[in-house]
Symmetry: D3
Subunit: 290 residues, 6 copies
């Protein structure tokens, strides 16, 4: 169904209007995400494999931070959200939506071939997707979903979560549904006075630039948007950090060391050797296990 819709949009594009305000063709989306090393959805969106998504569940924000800036990606983190389930990690593929304040002439163009609104995007979601919506921080009249659509996303669409630079409504109802959500506030009003200006185009959430197909990882602190081409490295490097933490705490537990003897890289050569051997052994165990 999604596939059909996207094809239709692509075919009509040259004839009917500046549809790229709305969405990209498969070819355009592939060009936009040319560095994606994985497969793609029919519409061209990168599809980080389920196996990596599962491994990514074990990563912390700090382990992602250890990779992304060093690769030149300084603007992939957003925080300042209300977090629905602080104790529940969110991991999924970004499905992006951009809203702007409504103006009738723009709305006429956008809705020329049928009304485009929040459900248009929600009905396009795939299992494992995180809906990432730029509602420019709007709270009053800026509620992207209430508990019914949230239920639909969680149960029928099998989504992995929601990130909105805007609001939700029915917080009490939503709190009974087991899907992670990151939002600026809850408000009882309806979503109104806005237009959708892009679906699966690059969007901005706080100071992060999000592209369709990014791996979205959220915890109690905030949300990271990882480009597909960096997912494998990030997951692998996190294993090393996990072992380092494991070893560090063991040594701390011995009570013989100051934090500066151990933390970072051990300064004592014998300790350093002990650590290196431990790291090698543990990485073997972890990676063979997987």
């Amino acid at each position: 169904m999604i596939r059909t819709l996207i094809c239709a949009v692509a075919l009509l594009l040259p004839m009917r209007g500046p549809a790229q305000i709305f969405t990209l063709t498969r070819e355009q989306l592939i060009q936009l995400t040319a560095q994606n090393p994985f497969g793609r959805f029919p519409d061209g969106r990168p599809k980080v494999p389920d196996g990596l998504i599962a491994r990514a569940r074990g990563m912390s924000m700090e382990e992602i931070f250890a990779v992304l800036p060093s690769q030149g990606f300084h603007n992939q983190y957003a925080d300042g959200f209300h977090v629905l389930y602080p104790a529940k990690k969110m991991v999924g593929r970004a499905f992006t939506v951009q809203f702007m304040p409504a103006r009738p002439d723009l709305a006429a163009v956008i809705n020329a071939r049928g009304r485009v609104y929040n459900q248009t995007a929600i009905d396009m979601l795939q299992p494992g997707d995180v809906l990432v919506a730029d509602l420019f921080g709007k709270v009053n009249d800026g509620t992207i979903v209430g508990d019914n659509l949230f239920y639909y996303m969680a149960k029928t669409a099998k989504c992995a979560g929601l990130v909105v630079d805007g609001a939700i409504r029915d917080l009490d109802g939503i709190s009974e549904i087991d899907m992670p959500a990151y939002f600026r506030n809850a408000h009882p009003s309806y979503l109104t006075n806005v237009s959708i200006t892009g679906i699966n185009v690059p969007i901005r959430i706080g100071n992060a630039t999000v592209m369709p197909g990014d791996l979205v990882v959220g915890d109690s602190e905030g949300v990271y948007f990882i480009p597909p081409q960096l997912v494998q490295q990030t997951v692998d490097d996190a294993d090393i950090v996990h072992v380092h933490d494991e070893w560090t705490r063991r040594k701390f537990d011995e009570g013989k060391y100051k934090s500066s003897d151990i933390y970072g890289s051990p300064t004592d050569p014998a300790l350093k050797k002990e650590y290196d051997e431990y790291l090698k052994k543990r990485l073997d165990e972890i990676r063979n296990r997987k």
Copy 2:
């Protein structure tokens, strides 16, 4: 006791001073809330019936929002509070208090016949009341109650809750007492450098105008102040929303429909008919049950 106090005030009014800074006579309060369809307290304040209060416990903020703005009431919602018990719904009748920054000449007038302070208002509370206090956002020296007065409100006065555009003190102690509270912050200081300038007069809480006798409903998002004349309609309409949600989720659970097929009003005539019949049947059940 309250009755006596109010009568005394009313009688003395013409002789002793501009007491309306302090409170209204029964007649004035009745005129101010002329659209109230229910009974009243001896002082004239509207008394939404206990039965409706019980039913209102099942309403969400969104269901109230579905009624009030459509009736021209756009300024009845306040949020941005610290919520003591996010999982506990607050429902009760508004007892309003207005404070202003203290000035000695105004205080002399207010206190001419005995000191008027926070306990003056607290001792007037009736079972089922929510104390709604405008402390103009004051936190330092703006703590309307600590744990002892909060205990008194909850246990002796049998209040339904507290909403203060200001602070409380003794948060740890208050957290052991089972009464909802909405406040801007907690602070260890005493309430000082303010005067009470009105009891049971219209007040402003954030962007909401609150009148004595409004039905106050609070959840994890914020607080609604419902005029008595709209309580019945709000409660009745909420039943319809409940049934709609029930049906929507059943259909979502079938997994055959996109959200846009179901949510809002079903577009398919057969589905629409199915829904209408379901609604009729369930409303009968619900309303007969009550």
Copy 3:
């Protein structure tokens, strides 16, 4: 005209409604401002004499600060305004207006005997008045006047200025009219979605409590609201400060003293004596001149 209106209100009070939401009778206003040592307007509002207003023009905010807190008045200063004419001192008598977010049932009561709105208050202004309006910081739809009403206030009503905890519109037009104004922002929208809930009642502007008849003094920093009973002392004490500043700078100009030798009270007995004699002589000159 004002007189007639006020009398009518007073007479009708017991019969027609809770008019004190709207205004006070002359008797009530006199009680409220009982410490006023000066004459009054027909409606009871204190009338600080023109002579003192003229002398008050020479006072700074700091000279007022030197008196008010020491008399227990800690909440008489407001700032954070856009100041239309930073180089022009504003001095006049407070005419207070209170707005609240609109609600239809309250509006019905307020407007029962004719619509009450911003012009209702503006048409009651007297020469030398400063309109002080609590619009609770509202900017969008919170514009108390545009350039036409501002022109009317300045030219026809001969007002001394405007202080609004809200907005104005037509800033460019207003900037051509020579009357001081203090406002939170300018906005092109109309004043709407509010009700007037009080005229010449105590109001709050920021952290200041303002009463009708207070002397309002504004400069480039902010606005002071001085109770009538403290105006004489404030003006007199300012003379002493002026002389002190005069003498201090003369001594600084001699270049022989550190600031700590001179500023505050001179520590050297000879200097102290010199200062005391200078003060006595200059005060005689100043006060005899007046």
Copy 4:
């Protein structure tokens, strides 16, 4: 030169990548602004005639507000800027640019056919344009121009002004150049860590949606973005407001009327008739003069 560039982009579009992240073809821009009643630039952008731009110089923000919301355009105004020349009206045609936080993979796509940066857009400006740039409020490293580029815009490109939801640098140098500018702040840093993601696409500035070719009007309060199709009506209606203001002040100057007799529509039938005749006569004069 601009024409060539645009054509090149259009021709290459189907083959080279998702260029619509960067700009629109002439056809797409025409579709997007289909209601434009005027001519267009070679790239399709609406060109409000110079004559209307000249007349628009006489309009106030309030006169624009009187038209736009009534036509359903509620989101065309932005404020909160530092205004370089508060006393100088800015009027020109919107040339829009959108920035996002930089990410290397997106930058690779954008710069595939040559680096796209702030000067790319600036070199495309036409005489009479206002550069409107969404830099998402960035100040540090968010300076769209310094005094050299500002000089170029003013002198060589003959631009009408600058609106940036971001910063400028070299404020002291810029203050010597006579072109209006609206910016969030000044900062000494360079523009860095951002990518241009759109030129002459719809953008958001504060709560306003801006489209290429909108008429941009700025005064000391803020900035209005008027869709081309509403420019004529706005300019015409402003004439009526000017006459109304003229007449109102004349009547105020007579000193016989309260503001509520005159302001709005006169309540007295004779006055109303006098006003209607005055309006007719003056409009004839004004419009014949033009």
Copy 5:
């Protein structure tokens, strides 16, 4: 180890540089905290006895507030933190650290005898210490510890808690470690672009001035820093408040009294007598028990 370090610093002081940017000698620290009535650590820092720390666990912020301002200490409370364990009281001795934005020339002086950084301070912590760090509200690049150092503080150093006017990293990992923490935010970045400019010197946290050895008490509201010389009085006075609360609630539970009859000091002489006897009896019990 700590002792050795401090001595070394003291000996080298006159020869090697302005070390007081870094820390104080034992003698200087004793002079700075001359009113301390208790013992001291080898470095001179006051050591509030363990017995008093245990009793202080029962105090509320409000009980501390009842003592400190009355003794002239108005600036000892800080709030606005994220509180890791709102239900867990934090009590310990202040170990203070001051950071400033880095500048290479200052860093060269500070690090002249070995790099001084967050672990330098952390390795000096003593059992029962609360690390109190002024990171001037820095969040991005302002994370004083992650989960490893937090684990070290809790397990190896046996610290009582952390207060940082800045950030932490690894919030999810930290949430598994049982030590109280107060911080402005969590962020995935490393601590960088800062220098330590003081260890165990007076620092500012929000509006509080903190000195090394202050008793730090934190609850769900905020944090109090109690000078050692006021700890005994504060703990003793809290006993009286506890008894007063006990008695007040008993009386409230009888349901015969208004809050104003009981709260504060009973107005009825018989009640007052009853209370005084109750207070005496209970204090005897409590203090003999201890």
Copy 6:
């Protein structure tokens, strides 16, 4: 006089208390600013020569930004001030003062040998100094000077300006005195409830670390604090920028070039050669002139 005071402090240091809370000895100050290439005041503070100060008057914030971050100094700029004279450049040597919220025990130590307060620092100022005071953003009760002390600083002490992360009082009076000032706000209150904790020690102003003797440069945007060792380079490099701007504008004025042909470094080799020759010639002229 200053010299004497400092010597006295130094001599008494070992006996009387932890004076480094208050100030540094000459030797300590020299160590702290070891990279200073210029002479020093008797107290050890670096003294950037008058000639360089004169040349620095011609620099812009952007020219300083072009040097400092490239030398590793990222935290030397502060803004967000009210600027008393936006059109007047401020250049002078930093005299630093640090305040903290008052606490009686700390105050007792600080004032042990005579009260230390704002005038203590002000009486130590030298001609050409800029008083830079950390008052931690305090406005109410955080006014470092009023018009009398400001007059003293300007006229008697011949200071170059004032930067305070706090407030001033008597803004109207101060506005008549011709000395630059940067402050957070003006307020009528006195300076109270604070202690001076450092004179000529490193302090923080916003995100900048300021050391005594830094060259302070302020314009209408903000304030830069330049370490003495970078002053010569900054001034020299600014000459190059001035010539570049001169040449750029001449070329823009020819109207033949796009901004991207000229700005930055010319891309055309002939243009580049022309520019290089122009630069050489003009630098010769400028530097020989000096």
